[in-house]
Amino acid sequence: MEQIASLQILLSALVLSSVYVLVALGLNLVYGTMRLLNVAHGDLMMLGGYVAYWSLVLLGIGTLGSMFGAAALGALLGFILYQFLLRRFLSNSRFAQRLESNSMIIFFGLSIIVQNLMSLAFTADPRSYNYMNGIVDLGHVRVEASRLVVLVVGVAAATSLVLFFRYSRLGLAARALIQQKDAAALVGIDANRINLIVFCLGFGLAGLAGALVSMTEAITPFGGFQYTIAAFVIIILGGLGNLWGGIVGGVLLAFIEIYGSALTSTAYRSIIVYGVFVAVLCLRPQGLLGKRIA
């Protein structure tokens, strides 16, 4: 039992939380602008992870540097997707209706495409690398430096995002847009520009999270799915589109997952995640902080 109370486990949970929070924030931003659930979010993360991997292997740039590149690539993909595909489809009403009602299937197809393209390009072997593997001694706990980096970067990113959305004009405009699209347009907020920025931000966060994950775990083309599911659980837990909910949900899920599998066994980790997922959708689909849905 004293193992449960150990700081080691607490630290694991915190590290996982910071990854989950970033992932959930990214997904929430994408959902908030487009009202579309990006099933390919986890695969974007894997892409970010591959950027980090290849940066180290080919260019010798460590993750601290390449994570910005991963985020940038994510944002670029978001830009291309939004500007050239989504905008065109959504402005044409015939496609817009089909896109929205079948959005899950379409993004599911996109996810399969991205996964298999990555598999073709990079082969399906798991990739991992050693970076900042030195052990840091923090008194009672010993932890790899890379995990500390994940925690620190995650917290820093989340904090700056929260501040951005709270205090900057752009951030406030984005929140207004997420809350009430039409009303925001009425008061003069340029919906398209802000949508584009937020969308790219969401995708960029996915890339960043993936780069962080690649430091501590091996990445494969098909490994994104579990993160996608976790992200879905989190944003539904916190309420769709609710940014604070995403943060709370991310921490909550990470803690449930780590402590749950510590109490039972690591083999049950997936069952716990999916179990929470199903339970939340049945008992409280609007999430802990969300409003009632039909």
Binding site: L37, V39, F89, F95, R98, L99, S101, N102, S103, M104, I105, I106, F108, G109, L110, S111, I112, I113, Q115, N116, L117, S119, L120, F225, I229, F232, I236, A267, Y268, S270, I271, Y274, G275, F277, V278, L281, C282, P285, A294
Partner: protein, 303 residues
């Protein structure tokens, strides 16, 4: 829809050809045909519920997998003729359980909930199997291929018949109403909750039986593989490509995808999946009525 003489004749010829196939074809082609029939049965069942109500279920692998699991557990213990319906029954019960939970939510929530439940079932079965100490089960002394072929043919025919019948029945009309506008349907008195549950449970029976028969063919049960989301993805793709509205649509979709897989899968499985994904997206956006729907529109225009 009036059934014309040429269509009936074509149908009879096709049925005769299918019945004679084990005598005419070699082992490889027979197994391809077997696979095609299995996919037709699965896709028809998907269309029975998801095609008609518009509630896209990403979790059909759960029913298929459960049927396979029942067969894997019961083989050699329970006679075949009882085991196959038992598999169907088990899948039906699972559908009732899932439906009680999942059918309360709509739209995208339903889609990811079915996916989540299917994955949950997968991991639970893997854990249960681990408890039994089995990481996969092998089936011995399985029936001969031609025998299995005829069972699968019967299942495919049954599935098509069910889809056809549903399309014309009152329940089918209710399901269509749900797809068009569920709130309006409730308002005019359609018992939406009841028919959704009935259709969902009904649509799970055939996949359960297909899973059971399939596992006899492959003789190996591995939970992680049998419950994989790739199976759900394939089924949806076939339904979308072929058209999920009328009974003949899934036949076209399954045939198309099996043909594609024969060409590509052995050589470049990832490319195959990419092509499949691209096709899925294109069909959803540009041709939601599927190949069969397009053919019908073209046929009507030429009259």
């Amino acid at each position: 829809m009036m059934v014309r003489a040429p269509a009936i004749a074509a149908g009879l010829i096709a049925s005769a050809a299918l019945c004679l196939a084990p005598l005419l074809l070699g082992a490889y082609h027979l197994s391809v045909l077997f696979q095609l029939l299995a996919f037709i049965a699965l896709t028809q069942s998907w269309a029975t519920f998801s095609g008609m109500t518009g509630y896209a279920s990403l979790g059909y692998a759960a029913f298929y997998g459960l049927g396979a699991y029942v067969m894997a557990l019961g083989w050699m213990v329970i006679p075949l003729w009882q085991l196959i319906p038992l598999a169907g029954l088990a899948a039906c019960l699972l559908a009732l359980a899932i439906g009680a939970v999942a059918l309360r939510v709509r739209g995208p929530y339903f889609v990811i909930l079915t996916l989540g439940i299917s994955e949950l079932v997968r991991y639970v079965v893997v854990a249960v199997e681990a408890k039994f100490g089995a990481s996969g089960r092998v089936l011995f002394l399985v029936p001969d291929m031609s025998f299995l072929y005829f069972i699968m043919l019967a299942l495919a025919a049954a599935a098509t018949a069910i889809t056809w019948w549903m399309g014309r029945s009152r329940i089918g009309a209710g399901l269509h109403a749900i797809r068009e506008d569920e709130t309006a349907a409730i308002t005019i008195g359609v018992p939406t909750a009841r028919i959704k549950t009935v259709a969902f449970a009904l649509s799970a029976i055939i996949p359960g039986m297909v899973g059971a028969v399939w596992i006899l063919r492959s003789t190996y049960f591995e939970p992680a593989q049998v419950f994989s989301p790739a199976m759900s993805f394939s089924i949806i793709t076939m339904a979308v490509i072929g058209g999920s509205d009328k009974a003949l649509g899934p036949i076209f979709g399954a045939a198309f995808v099996v043909l594609l897989s024969e060409l590509l899968w052995a050589r470049a499985p990832q490319l195959y999946m990419v092509v499949l994904g691209v096709l899925l997206i294109c069909f959803v956006l540009f041709a939601p009525e599927g190949i069969y729907g397009r053919l019908r529109t073209a046929w009507v225009r030429t009259r």
